[in-house]
């Protein structure tokens, strides 16, 4: 009985999901996105197939999870690649259709004629009254004037038989409602459209542009013609002057060319790339060095309280990174920070951790070593456990000291299994966005570059800056750099997989 109920509930939920999906598809189609709607419909069809036939039974379990991975991990990556080939940016944000619509919606005020405008309350609502120079009076129906959305309403000639309007609203009410009123366009019986041109005046407006058959737009006011340029993504005047807003078009390899050949981009790019490699390499080196020394100590049986020590040593790993990084940011702070306070009282120095490029890099490495060594220690401890103890006994009989043990036994035996993990750590730090974003935000900036770029920026934080922070919001360029970084990470991952496989076959 309970199973029956569960069954029906599941069926109901599935039906509702399907309905919601269909509704969404329809909405997408209605919004002028046929491609998206098709993909959505195909997904729904696939889901219906999987959950209704017995043939794809295993996929009933896989479908939701795999869908999530595809939509929120794979698709964004693929989408990033395609954005890299477009000029998508805050200047070229709209689709060509939307940009065209923007121009078509533009209006201009026709000179000469105007209407005196008064607002009259009608219960909680308002009516607009317009009067021209000849004394013709037009009124609209009652309007709520609550939402600031574009509104088009008809007006009719005020007949003598109609009930008279209330007294005109005062200036204060007008000003209160001005924002909403500005968006109201009133269609007069003659077909003219008028909208607010001042606090007490309505003037007829006309559409500024008229579409021509070949996709060009004709300016009604001065007769000039603007053409869409699908290479640059702008509507251009006859003189070739681009008009805002631009639209999104494919521009081929232009972004990649900019990164590698335009010196104002390639120069900071190469410098940042260099620092990214140095940063990731040194971080792994330092964290691993500290980690393995501690791991050796923690595996030394003659040492008491090892358990207690290792809890303390593990703590930096347990605290959320976003908190410890900010704690360090405050402690290193040049004027108010406790680290400079100590250094000042001990040595009389006050290093500029955030304004000197070299010191900023030193600080970043200190912080990241602090964050990263417990993980390295944990890994090394596990690997040291696997080393047979008789090796150390033999070396002790031969009279070897701890250093010989470390360099001749421990390290050589650990290097091989830990190399893939170190490469993974390198790849992780190569993209360690959170550390840079929270600690220095890439600053101090280079003084000699045309585009804002930081001396401590990693490639990922540089991309983030280009995309979301500095003026321009050049999503296309950012996506192109992301693609380049992605290829580097993929390369590292392939090497890593190879190494892991080699290790596995050898141990077999």
């Amino acid at each position: 009985m309970a199973r029956k109920l569960e069954h029906w509930i599941l069926l109901l939920a599935a039906g509702l999901t399907l309905l919601a999906g269909l509704f969404l598809t329809f909405k997408m189609y209605a919004a002028g996105q046929p491609l998206l709607a098709t993909v959505c419909l195909a997904t729904l069809g696939l889901a219906t197939y999987i959950y209704s036939t017995g043939r794809a039974y295993a996929f009933r379990y896989l479908f939701p999870g795999l869908l999530a991975v595809v939509v929120f991990v794979l698709f964004p990556l693929a989408y990033t690649f395609t954005i890299g080939f477009t000029n998508y940016s805050s200047k070229n944000l709209l689709s060509p259709e939307r940009a065209k619509q923007y121009f078509l919606d533009e209006t201009y005020v026709v000179d000469g004629e105007s209407y005196a405008f008064t607002l009259h309350s009608d219960g909680a609502a308002y009516r607009i009254r317009l009067e021209n120079e000849n004394g013709d009076v037009f009124v609209t129906d009652a309007l709520a004037l609550k939402q600031a959305t574009p509104l088009s309403v008809p007006a009719h000639r005020l007949e003598a038989a109609e009930a008279p309007l209330s007294v005109p609203a005062d200036t204060k009410t007008l000003i209160q409602n001005l924002k909403v009123l500005k968006l109201v366009s009133v269609t007069l019986p003659s077909g003219l459209v008028a909208s607010a041109s001042g606090l007490r005046e309505f003037a007829p407006v006309r559409k500024l542009y008229q579409p021509l058959a070949n996709g060009e737009l004709k300016n009604q006011q001065d007769g000039s013609i603007i053409k869409p340029n699908f290479k640059t993504g702008f509507y251009e005047t006859a003189a070739g002057e681009p008009l805002q807003p631009g639209f999104k078009v494919g521009i081929g390899w232009a972004n990649f060319k900019r990164i590698f050949t335009d010196s104002s981009f390639s120069e900071p790019f190469l410098r940042i790339f260099g620092w990214t490699v140095v940063f990731a390499g040194l971080t792994v080196l330092f964290a691993f060095s500290v980690g393995i020394v501690l791991a050796v100590l923690m595996s030394w049986e003659a040492l008491r309280f090892r358990k207690l020590y290792s809890i303390f040593l593990f703590l930096p790993y347990a605290v959320p990174a976003f908190i410890s990084i900010l704690v360090f940011k405050g402690l290193f702070s040049e004027n108010a920070g406790e680290i400079n306070l100590i250094l000042q009282s001990l040595f009389g120095i006050k290093p500029n951790w955030f304004t000197d490029p070299f010191l900023a890099k030193v600080m970043i490495l200190i912080v990241n070593t602090w964050l990263g060594f417990p993980y390295m220690m944990l890994l090394s401890m596990g690997l040291i456990k696997a080393i047979p103890a008789d090796l150390y006994e033999a070396s002790a009989i031969a009279g070897a000291g701890p250093f010989t043990n470390f360099f001749k036994i421990t390290l050589p035996l650990i290097v091989k299994p830990i190399t893939p993990l170190l490469i993974a750590a390198f790849a992780f730090n190569f993209n360690n966005f959170v550390l840079i974003a929270l600690l220095t935000n890439g600053r101090p900036d280079f003084l000699d570059t045309a585009v804002p770029a930081g001396t401590t920026d990693l490639l990922v934080s540089y991309t983030y800056r280009i995309a979301f922070q500095d003026s321009g919001q050049d999503f296309g360029l950012a996506a192109a750099i992301s693609t380049v970084v992605f290829l580097m990470v993929a390369f590292l991952s392939i090497i890593n997989l190879r190494l892991t496989k080699v290790n596995q076959t050898e141990t077999r």
Binding site: V69, V319, L326, S482, V485, V489
Partner: protein, 296 residues
């Protein structure tokens, strides 16, 4: 170890203890400082490290209680820390639950069923989780901008959207849970199937109850991941009331508005519970996995 010990051995042990204690003192320095700073009156260092007087003003502000300053002014909390913490917990718990649901069912199929492209699928999942999401931030932003146009509560600046974005990161969880399912002998489920259970019933009533420890661990790890996630949240969330603690807490340390003491209290308030959950998860991780191993 049956090793011959020479005279220098004792000194080495003492040196190791001393070295470790010094190192741990260095490592613990930030934690100690932040505790002292949270109890020190004012937002700027007074010149000495150990505060001469204890003040709870920062803790009051962080907990949302206004207090009266020395000059009689009423100091109101600048940022809604508790709300941010609640946002984080909400987003992380829901995304953890959804992620757990999706990854458990996937892991079951991968561990127990035969189907086409199985090896390719599980290997590509392994590859997928290697790629950092930071690289796709632009696309993620654009995608949620689009989604918001159709379903407002899943768009930019919503928690629904953020939760949805996090559900993609389940590849690692699938691997973990599958590894655990592999250690549970398949005979138990087969016995259930002989008794007439459908595959779903075998999964729901036989396998799942046995996998509770690993499900707990995966949920906790997903939860911590959700609380600690910064890049996606920083791109998707904008309004102050919507922020998660990971995005919000840095607002204490803007150069023009520098609330060092308040930050310290907020850091402890939010960092302590998360760290404890993490340590617990680590513990259960090892014990949960070994328990599975014993069963096999």
């Amino acid at each position: 170890m049956a090793v011959v010990l020479d005279k220098s051995h004792r000194w080495r042990v003492v040196a190791a203890h001393l070295g470790l204690i010094c190192f741990i003192a260095l490592i613990m320095f930030p934690f100690l400082m932040i505790l002292l700073i949270s109890l020190r009156p004012g937002n700027f260092s007074t010149g000495d490290l150990i505060p001469s007087q204890i003040s709870l003003e920062h803790w009051k502000l962080v907990l949302g209680i206004p207090y009266q300053a020395a000059d009689g002014r009423l100091v109101e909390p600048e940022f809604p820390v508790l709300l941010w913490l609640w946002n984080s917990i909400k987003v992380a718990a829901l995304s953890g639950l959804i992620g757990l649901l999706l990854s458990t069912t996937c892991a079951y199929a991968f561990a127990r069923m035969r189907f086409v492209f199985k090896a390719q699928l599980i290997n590509s999942l392994m590859l997928v989780q290697m790629f950092p999401t930071v690289l796709a931030l632009v696309a993620i932003y654009a995608i949620f901008d689009q989604i918001g146009g159709y379903v407002p509560w899943l768009g930019l600046d919503t928690h629904g959207g953020l939760i949805l974005a996090y559900t993609g990161g389940i590849a690692l969880h699938i691997w973990t849970i599958k590894g655990y399912f592999d250690t549970i002998p398949v005979e138990i489920e087969e016995a259930a199937k002989v008794d007439g259970a459908t595959p779903f019933q075998a999964f729901r009533y036989v396998l799942l109850p046995m996998a509770v420890p690993i499900l707990m661990v995966v949920f906790l790890l997903a939860f911590i991941q959700g609380v600690n996630e910064y890049p996606i949240a920083s791109v998707l969330l904008k309004q102050q009331d919507q922020l998660t603690i990971a995005v919000g807490i840095k607002m204490f340390l803007y150069e023009q508005k520098y609330f060092w003491g308040d930050f310290a209290a907020a850091a402890i308030l939010s960092g302590l519970p998360i760290s404890i959950v993490f340590l617990l998860a680590q513990r259960w991780m090892t014990s949960g996995l070994t328990a599975g191993g014993v069963k096999g």
